[in-house]
Amino acid sequence: MTPAPLLDLMPALPEFLLLLAGLLFLVIGVLREGDGVRLIGPLSALSLVIAAAIILASDKTAADTFGGHFRMDAFAAFLKVLIYVGVAAAILVSQNFLEDERIARFEFPLLALFGALGMGMMVSANSFLALYMSLELQSLSVYVLAAGHRDTLRSTEAGLKYFILGSLASGLLLYGISLVYGFTGTVMFDQIGSLLRDENASLSSGALVGLVFIAAGICFKLGVVPFHMWTPDVYEGAPTPVGAYIASAPKLAAMGLLLRVLIDPFGAWVGQWQQIIVFVAIASMLLGAFAAIMQTNFKRLMAYSGIANIGYALVGLAAGTRDGVDGVLVFMAIYMVMTLGTFACILAMRRQGSYVEDINELAGLSRRQPILALILTILMFSLAGIPPTAGFFGKFYVFKAAIDANLTWLAVIGLLSSVVACYYYLRIVKLVWFDQAAEPFDLPLRPAIGAVAGISAILLIVAVLAINPLFASAGIAASAIFH
């Protein structure tokens, strides 16, 4: 027997780095009992940044490895850089919280690291088997993190609820995958794509049912209506930095997965999946806009805001065009920055040593901590989509793509629901600047939290200058999944 040709593992170099780093930190953490988190947190963040730097420095032409199950291209590179940086930021803001709440265990950054590995593999998945395995790796890490504050009922409930509903979604996804495999005879994205693009092949309704189930499974991970039930409870119950983690990078990864699956193998069926995406987008935008009005818990409010934002992103996908995907990528990048910044602000809401989450606690913040108030205002303006903040450009590109694809009515619904959403974002701005001052928050602000909040606010402001390069690089990424 001739020896098998050596695999070219270079496309998966960032994954190998993260895996080896995770294994190494696991050993270090077990050997150093007690203060492991202080060492492993920054080390995990550092390894994620190095992995992102490797991707930035490497060649972006599409390359497959592991028998075609893993693909590294400009699309995966764009999302991976964002995911790794986002997870690194989430790990850094978590350090103080974990110590304050006396749950500083080294497993927190470690699981976040393994989750980031799973997310990177999700956006690189090039077959349905790889898609499922990477999704499970990411989900399992997040379930455990959500239940990480194991002595409180709410955190345990959040973890359990997320786990059970997530298992249900995995079941839906697997059922869809099995149908697609049964009717097409392959799990590889390229082969399914060329099979469906073939004009002579008859449209098989079995694979179509499979596509619906797959879309439903991924929509659950995105937390969009009608699969959003878990989102507010998990955001509220999970420890706040874990909320920051769940709300940012995994959404990018799930969105990347959805984009690749719908555009690459099922690209020929735009007309079929467009209806699903349009429905999900409308329902998410409306529910996110109206349900958040009643919320007073900042984390629950961010959950509904997240539902609405993913809805806006899906408007771009519903267009089904290259510009639409381009807009989705820009939107998701800006969304991640806004979410991380806002959660960093929530982590700064700390009074006499204990964390508070009610938005009324922010009253009169401008008089006590004007800089934090300014940062929060920029973040809220950006979430509301008010120019010149970056949030405006994110929405602009997805709505423009929808209008270009003759979905003007969808863009109108999106605009109207973002007007409704302005109410609750601007209510926070009003609380911060015009209400009677409450007691001040604990000072000084923790450096990591202040840095993440400040940098995100600055990024959202300077994005005006950098929006064209961002749009262009997202365009290169989007082209990678179109045939």
Binding site: A4, L7, L19, L26, F66, G67, H69, F70, R105, E107, L110, L111, F114, L117, M121, L129, A130, M133, S134, E136, L137, L140, S141, Y143, V144, A147, G148, R150, G159
Partner: protein
């Protein structure tokens, strides 16, 4: 051929009998033991089919892990099975109905397949008699599917880390053996010589 046929009927009969006993026996421990016997017999059926890898996996996974876990649960949790069974008689019509529906569906499916014909069946992968199932599986798992195999390993690692993180509590009362400390103990630190007067305590 006749020996195979006789074995098939023997193993099938024992499997069905065990399955009935799993739900019929009064003692839950007996139920689990019958379940284990049913697994062994199913493994025998797989062997008759020539699927030796599947047979061994069934024994290792289901008998070695799942059934033993059941046994632990049954024996460690103090569940009053007699009370659980009370009222079971009330539900037997519904149970019987579900059973009849399942039977009818099975008859429809197999009957349709046997009599109507003309169904397209997927072409089975041609079997190569020179290699065993295990070898054939090994050839693809460690080559074409090595990525998925390794990912499964990482998922299991994350599961172990998660289980330990959520359940392990450091307890102060736990006394672990610290070999380094034992080796470094010096007699002069721990042994004390005292002069004890005759007839007096220490």
């Amino acid at each position: 051929m006749t020996i195979e046929l006789a074995l098939f009927y023997l193993l099938s009969a024992v499997t069905v009998g065990c399955a009935v006993m799993v739900i019929a026996s009064r003692n839950p421990v007996h139920s689990v033991l019958f379940l284990i016997l049913a697994f062994f017999n199913s493994a025998g059926l797989f062997l008759l089919l020539g699927a030796e890898f599947l047979a061994m996996i069934l024994v290792v996974v289901y008998v070695g892990a799942v059934a033993v876990l059941f046994l632990f649960v049954v024996m460690m949790l103090d569940v009053n099975f007699r009370r659980l069974r009370e009222g079971a008689r009330l539900y037997w019509p519904i149970g019987a109905l579900v059973g009849v529906i399942l039977l009818a569906e099975l008859i429809l499916v197999t009957g349709g397949w046997a009599f109507a014909g003309g169904f397209e069946t997927a072409a089975p992968i041609p079997s190569d008699p020179s290699i065993t199932n295990t070898e054939a599986l090994g050839r693809v798992i460690y080559t074409d599917y090595v990525y998925l195999f390794q990912t499964a390993g990482v998922i299991l690692l994350v599961a172990i880390i998660g289980a330990i993180m959520l359940t392990l509590r450091p307890r102060g009362t736990l006394r672990r053996q610290d070999i380094a400390e034992q080796v470094h103990r010096r007699p002069q630190d721990t042994v004390e010589l005292r002069k004890v007067d005759t007839g007096a305590g220490v």
